[in-house]
Structure formats: structure tokens, C-alpha cells
């Protein structure tokens, strides 16, 4: 029965009406930036294709990706996708626990070898043979490798799985390592963000199971449909940036007027994500709309990129030292100027004394 079961069958079993199902399909097509005719294709795919199981693993992480996912702005979309996913394995959400739960993994491999999608939240720590994250008595990295061996493709949820995030920040004591550096023989779709936007998560996973292919990825492995632009490019405060109107302090007139937050450290100009278009919590708000700059949480290594509250940020200079580019550059240029002045003084003395002594130049 499992082999002929379609997504639609599963949804109906979970009490989703056909009307809700169709609404979900058209919403998803719009969310993915596809034309209206694609809603029909999604309907057709979900009605006829045998469903692709999704296994959701958790490594070193805070579960904020799951928290985001289950709060998908349109509850309908979340419920639909969630009911498809939680059927198989997600140790946070499923009812089974212990040996019973771990058995499900082996059953999935048996039934769907090479056909299931592996969604990874968090990352494996590699130091001490992976001892910093133990699941079912074994290092998580072993479970990850085992499940990855038999999967079709991997989704790396969030900044942990995509880049490393906070547990991989310097000095990274557990050697927490992003998925694509551990699993190199399977396609990895990165969905970064801390957490990623719920609609981005449901959109990516629906695209993959409905069309049976990876979404188009950018150079760094992120789906282009959600990560091809900076927050800055679609920010509703952009006109204030272009005009030269900035919040200088969080309690000033500019802050009250909703000026650009670049000077108080907004990383929108260097962060690729869909926050400024999709927004959060069903389009309720997003960081800049609430008056705070973007932290750049969807970017590689964002914890180690200096202050969240300055525009020109620190970077490692030498050893463990940090300074901003302007500080380092100012010191270099200043040293050049002082050196030149000192050299000029000595040169002038030498030149004049030589003139007096009548030596040849």
C-alpha cells in the first residue's frame, strides 16, 4: 500500500478537505514565483505521484527551525506539509520514541532506499569522534552518514546545517561542521537563516516533493527563488538609504520616522534572504519593520563578523586581534604619513648639510 500511496491520499487521511488542498497548491505555486498554470501541475503531481517520504534529523541546534516551520504563516500550508513529513521521522514532532522511533529509520531505508529526502536541522560535531552529540547511544554524525547513504537529496535547514552558525563560531570547540562538508556525495539544498522563514521552508520542500527535482540553486547552494536578492534590494526603507536619511541612534528622530538602519548596523545590504518580501509570522513584521537592523543570520559565519550594531565591522587582523577596516586602514595610512614626514625631515637635514659641504649630489 505504501508504494501506491500519494500525497493527496495522505492529506485526505489527515482530514484535509479537497478545497483546502487546492488552496494550498495555488498558494504554493504563487509562493514559488510560478505562474497560475503551475497550481494545476502541483495538484496533478500530488494526486498521482507516490509520496516521497521526508526524514527530519536533528543535530547540534536549538530547534528554532522546527519552531519556525510549525508556525508557517498560513497554518493550512504548514499543516499540509507537516502531515506529510511527520509521518515518517522527526524526533521532535512524532509520537514514537526510543527504539520504536529508531526502527522507523531502518524501515524507511528498507522501503524507500534512494527515494526519500533527508532534511537536516543542526549539524554534526566532529571533535572527539562526534561525542558532543549522541543520539540513541551513537554519535549523530554516524546516524547522519547512514541516513545520507540511502537518501535521494538533502535539505540543510537553517544556518547550522548550511554554514555552522553559533556552535561553529570561533573557536568552535566541538568542530561543528555544516552538512555539505560532511556529506559530499549527495545534492545539498541550503535553506539558511536562524531560523529560516516558515514559508521558505514549506516552499522548498513542496517544490522538491511535487516536482521531483531540486529547485534552481545559486553558487552557494541556496534556492534562487528565495535567496537571490539582498534584504536591502527589497527593503521598504530603501528610499531613505538612497536619500541619505539614517537612524543615528535608536532613540532619535530618524528612528521615529523610520529612516534606514544601516548606520546602526543593519546587515541588509549584505544578507541574502526573503525577509523583506515574505516577512515573518504571516507577513506581520520582520526585523527592520520592527525598528532593528538585520543581523545577517542567513549569511555564512555571521556570529564572527563583528558587531551587530556597526556598519563597518571588525574582521580578524592578526592572531586573535580584531579591528574594523577603517581602523586598520587609518593606522596604515597614518603610519605612511608619519613615516613620510620623518623621512622628509631627515632628508632635508642631509640635503642642506651636503649643500654646505659642497659635495656633489
Amino acid at each position: 500500500m505504501a508504494d501506491t500511496e500519494t500525497f493527496y491520499d495522505v492529506m485526505r487521511k489527515h482530514g484535509i478537505t479537497r478545497r483546502s488542498f487546492l488552496k494550498f497548491c495555488s498558494l504554493t505555486a504563487a509562493g514559488l514565483g510560478l505562474g497560475p498554470e503551475f497550481a494545476g501541475r502541483i495538484v496533478h503531481a500530488l494526486e498521482t505521484k507516490p509520496r516521497t517520504p521526508v526524514i527530519w534529523l536533528h543535530g547540534l541546534e536549538c530547534t528554532c527551525c522546527t519552531e519556525s516551520f510549525i508556525r508557517s504563516g498560513n497554518p493550512l500550508a504548514g499543516d499540509v506539509v507537516l502531515s506529510m513529513i511527520s509521518l515518517d521521522y522527526d524526533d521532535t514532532l512524532m509520537a514514537a520514541a526510543g527504539h520504536q522511533a529508531e526502527e522507523l529509520l531502518e524501515q524507511t531505508i528498507e522501503k524507500y532506499d534512494g527515494r526519500y529526502i533527508l532534511a537536516c536541522e543542526g549539524n554534526p560535531p566532529l571533535n572527539e569522534d562526534g561525542m558532543y552529540c549522541i543520539q540513541a547511544g551513537k554519535p549523530y554524525v554516524e546516524k547522519l552518514r547512514h541516513m545520507a547513504d540511502h537518501c535521494k537529496a538533502i535539505i540543510a535547514w537553517g544556518s547550522c546545517a548550511s554554514w555552522g552558525c553559533v556552535q561553529a563560531a570561533r573557536p568552535n570547540p566541538t568542530r561543528a561542521t555544516p552538512i555539505h562538508k560532511v556529506i559530499t556525495d549527495k545534492p545539498v539544498v541550503k535553506v539558511p537563516g536562524c531560523p529560516p522563514i516558515a514559508e521558505v521552508m514549506t516552499g522548498v520542500i513542496t517544490y522538491m516533493i511535487a516536482f521531483d527535482e531540486l529547485p534552481e540553486l545559486d553558487r552557494q547552494g541556496r534556492p534562487k527563488m528565495f535567496y537571490s536578492q539582498r534584504l536591502h534590494d527589497k527593503c521598504y526603507r530603501r528610499p531613505h538609504f538612497d536619500a541619505g536619511q539614517f537612524v543615528e541612534r535608536f532613540d532619535d528622530e530618524g528612528a521615529r520616522k523610520g529612516y534606514c538602519l544601516y548606520k546602526v548596523g543593519c546587515k541588509g545590504p549584505t544578507t541574502y534572504n526573503a525577509c523583506s518580501t515574505l516577512e515573518w509570522n504571516g507577513g506581520l513584521s520582520w526585523p527592520v519593520k520592527s525598528g532593528h537592523g538585520c543581523l545577517g543570520c542567513a549569511e555564512d559565519n555571521f556570529w564572527d563578523k563583528g558587531s551587530f550594531y556597526s556598519a563597518v565591522t571588525n574582521f580578524g587582523v592578526m592572531g586573535g586581534a580584531e579591528a574594523t577596516a577603517d581602523r586598520v586602514g587609518g593606522v596604515i595610512a597614518g603610519a605612511a604619513a608619519i613615516g613620510v614626514a620623518a623621512h622628509a625631515a631627515v632628508s632635508a637635514v642631509k640635503h642642506l648639510s651636503r649643500d654646505k659641504s659642497g659635495e656633489a649630489p
Binding site: D218, R219, Q220, K224, S228, Q229, R230, D233, P239, H240, F241, D242, A243, G244, Q245, F246, V247, E248, G254, Y259, Y262, K263, K267, P269, T270, T271, Y272, G296, E299, D300, N301, K305, A311, V312, T313, F315, T324, A325, D326, V328, G329, G330, I332, A333, A335, A336, A337, G339, V340, H343, A344, V346, S347, K350, H351, A360, P361
Partner: protein
């Protein structure tokens, strides 16, 4: 003017001027200098904007204009750079000094240490040189050729973020963003590059003026007229 052969150096010693900087090199020098000045001022103000201005956003376009001027100057810088590299292949022997350092030549290294010694006041008399002396050549190669390439690559990579994924700038230079650890890191390195240009310019202008006063050959007038003249 023909270039004196080694055995013919006596002729050269007889204070004859030498045509060193051909017209395209001289034009490039001044275009390059002007574009670096414009790029540095606008670039600094893009990273560290001026105090906010009031009124409606629709009445002002200060940052937009600064960026526009920065991008135009960036194109001028890049086109000048490409022309200069081309001239390095087709121009005279001195124009080639821009493209490489002859690190395999013992006399070049000796010349380099002679120059360093001269500037540390360890040697009284400077050596004559036709084009760039080895120290000047090393500085030019590092701070204009290598740094110039870095600034062009990083600059257009950051420019591609505005043009968008799949644009020509993204196709040609977008790889630099992940290579240097993300857009924020690349921005900071681009800013650091500006400071290196400024440090170079301070030392370069000082040495050129000083050479005119104290060395045995012309320097500032040479990059204007192209002819290097000798005092003795």
C-alpha cells in the same frame, strides 16, 4: 629616442634625456590618480554616510548619487586599467614594468637593496634608473597592478549584488563573494584596499617630489612630458 645598449651607457651617462613614459601611460597615470581620488571619497562616504538629512525621502538622492559617481569612477578605473595592461604588451620596455617583477634577476634584487639602503640613508648617492627603480617597480606592481586587480574584482562583485543574480557582473565576478567569506567580508576588504591606495599615494607623492629635489633624475616632470632628464 633609441634605448642605449649596455655598452653604450656612456652616451646615456652624458645627461641625455630618455623618453620613458609614452602618452598612453601618462594619460593612464592621471586618469588612474583622479579615479582613485573620486573612488576613495565616494567609497568612504558610502561605508560611513554623512549625517542624516531631513525632509521627504523623495526630495533627496544623496546616497544614490554617491553610489552612481562611485560606479562611474569604477568603470573609468577599470577601463584605464585594461588599457594600461594592453599597453604593457605593446608599449616600450618601461611600460612592461607594470606587469611583472623580474624576481629571477640577481641585478634586480641588488638594485632593490641598493634603493632600500638609499632610502634608509645608508647610501649617499642614488643609482640612476631609466624606468622605475626596483623599489618603485615593486611598489607599483603590488599597489597598483595586484591591488588594482583585487579592487576591480571585489568592486564588480559587490556591484553585481545590485545588478542581480545572473547579471554579467555576477557571471564574471560573483565568485569572489563566497571566496572571500561573504559579502560583508568582501566589503571590509574592499574598504581596506582603499586605505592601502591612500597609504601608497602618500608615499608615492612624497618620493616623487623628493626625487625631483634630491635625486639625479627628473620624476614629476617625467610623468607629465614623458621625458626623463638627468642632472649629471
Amino acid at each position: 629616442m633609441s634605448i642605449p645598449a649596455p655598452e653604450n651607457l656612456a652616451v646615456h651617462h652624458a645627461s641625455q634625456p630618455v623618453y620613458v613614459f609614452e602618452a598612453p601611460v601618462r594619460v593612464w597615470h592621471w586618469v588612474h590618480a583622479l579615479s582613485v581620488v573620486v573612488l576613495s571619497i565616494t567609497g568612504y562616504l558610502i561605508a560611513n554616510p554623512l549625517p542624516s538629512i531631513g525632509g521627504e525621502a523623495s526630495e533627496h538622492f544623496l546616497m544614490g548619487n554617491l553610489r552612481l559617481v562611485h560606479f562611474i569612477a569604477g568603470y573609468v578605473f577599470t577601463i584605464g586599467f585594461v588599457v594600461r595592461v594592453y599597453w604593457g604588451f605593446v608599449g616600450n620596455r618601461y611600460s612592461r614594468e607594470f606587469l611583472y617583477l623580474p624576481v629571477w634577476r640577481g641585478d634586480w634584487w641588488r638594485g632593490l637593496f641598493d634603493e632600500i639602503g638609499y632610502y634608509l640613508f645608508l647610501r649617499k648617492r642614488s643609482k640612476r634608473s631609466l624606468g622605475h627603480n626596483p623599489l618603485a617597480q615593486a611598489a607599483m606592481w603590488l599597489f597598483n597592478f595586484v591591488l588594482g586587480i583585487f579592487m576591480i574584482v571585489s568592486g564588480f562583485a559587490l556591484y553585481s549584488e545590485g545588478l542581480g543574480l545572473g547579471s554579467w557582473a555576477d557571471a564574471l565576478f560573483g565568485w569572489a563573494i563566497p571566496l572571500f567569506g561573504g559579502a560583508q567580508n568582501l566589503r571590509m576588504l574592499h574598504i581596506l584596499g582603499m586605505w592601502l591606495f591612500i597609504a601608497f599615494a602618500i608615499i608615492h607623492i612624497y618620493m616623487a617630489v623628493r626625487a625631483d629635489i634630491m635625486r639625479r633624475q627628473s620624476s614629476v616632470s617625467a610623468i607629465i612630458s614623458g621625458w626623463r632628464t638627468y642632472r649629471d
